[in-house]
């Protein structure tokens, strides 16, 4: 039987960023993969439609790779960003869901 994915909602204002709200759908593996991600918040990204494409293309990334992959995709799509960055996404995960970066430690609270 296929396990349902876990959905994790995080929010925060990492240094140099506006308010960010992440909704991650993760595989329930020992080393989870991001099945899908939605990134909401008060930030700016131009062109806006290219940001939608970046969100879709982040599927398949690991939480540890999220920031680097986000930056690479933003550059590939010629996005101009203000109030959001790959570093900011990494910081948010590290502060709000550190177990995603060290899966062996397990979650403090079940998602």
């Amino acid at each position: 039987m296929t396990e349902k994915p876990a959905i994790l909602n995080l929010q925060g204002k990492p240094p140099g960023c506006k308010l960010l709200r992440l909704s991650l759908t993760l595989t329930k593996d020992p080393n989870p993969i991001i099945q899908s991600i939605s990134i909401h918040g008060d930030f700016f990204a131009v062109p806006e439609e290219a940001f939608d494409a970046v969100e879709r293309e982040l599927a398949g990334t690991t939480p540890a790779q999220l920031g680097r992959r986000f930056n690479a995709l933003a550059e590939a799509h010629s996005l101009q960003l203000a109030g959001i960055s790959g570093d900011g996404l990494d910081t948010l995960i590290a502060s709000e869901a550190p177990w995603l970066l060290n899966p062996e430690q397990g979650p403090r609270h079940a998602p």
Partner: protein
């Protein structure tokens, strides 16, 4: 040589019409059928505008807005949720090839916001640009701005707060927990200000008069800061028709409002 811009003063209209007209003007400037534009406007009824990347249900209490008679509209620009009531809103549209268009968005905010800083000075308020997109006076925010780039053009719009009601604002916006409402209201009162708060003598001036005074100051401010020659104009019938259509089909659609 000054840069020629149309000046449109379009009065008080609904949220969907305001956003429909901003997008129409972007389209017209992109087509080359309009000069660059500076538009000054207000909102009736009051409204919450959401940034493009914000989630509707996360940010807005839809039922409270309905109860209070406050409209909701999603902008095509990013940024945060804005409560539009006692304020002047401006929009400025220009091609990316225009001498005033900076290629870097952060630089562009600084350049275009200089018009508001100059306008506030004419109202007796010393203010400064605060990156990314704010204007502050005495360390408190008096103007927020949002920019997008589409069809080879820049559209930037923003607000100049004439008065602010944080209590009403937080009845309309979602707060993480009810217990935080009082703290959030106190936080906004500490971080946000308005013309009337900065200049108490404006309190006795009716809002409509203060709006006109602010509009004139902003027109002069943009003229001075950006070396503009403003040509007062009216919205053309074709533009009005397109704005109404965009308001109805896009900005008034639940699909667009609930995009995120």
């Amino acid at each position: 040589m000054p840069h020629e811009f149309r000046l449109l003063s379009t009065g008080f209209n609904s949220a969907t019409f305001n956003m429909g007209l901003d997008e129409t003007l972007l389209h017209k400037v992109a087509q080359g059928s309009s000069l660059p534009v500076l538009r000054l406007y207000g909102w009736s009824p009051p409204a919450i505008s959401l940034g493009y990347f914000q989630g509707l249900e996360e940010e807005v209490d839809v039922n409270a807005c309905r109860t209070e008679g406050v409209d909701i509209v999603r902008r095509i620009t990013g940024g945060g949720a804005v409560f539009h009531q006692h304020e002047l809103t401006y929009s400025i549209v220009l091609p990316l090839t225009h001498p005033l268009a900076e290629s870097n968005i952060l630089d562009s905010y600084r350049t275009l916001c200089s018009g508001i800083v100059a306008g506030l000075a004419l109202l007796g308020i010393e203010a400064e640009f605060a990156p990314i997109n704010d204007i502050v006076t005495d360390g408190r925010k008096i103007s927020g701005n949002a920019q997008t780039r589409k069809q080879g053009c820049i559209l930037q719009h923003g607000t100049i707060l004439i008065d602010v009601d944080p209590d009403l604002m937080f009845r309309l916006l979602k707060v993480p927990a009810e217990k935080n409402r009082g703290r959030l209201i106190a936080d906004v009162k500490a971080r946000v200000t308005s013309l009337r708060q900065m200049r108490p003598e404006y309190t006795s001036i009716p809002f409509e008069s203060l709006y006109e005074q602010t509009a004139q100051a902003m027109a002069h401010g943009f003229t001075e800061a950006l070396d503009l020659r403003l040509i007062p104009d009216e919205v053309q019938s074709e533009e009005l028709e397109e704005a109404v259509q965009r308001a109805r089909e896009k900005f008034g659609s639940w699909a667009w409002t609930r995009l995120r």
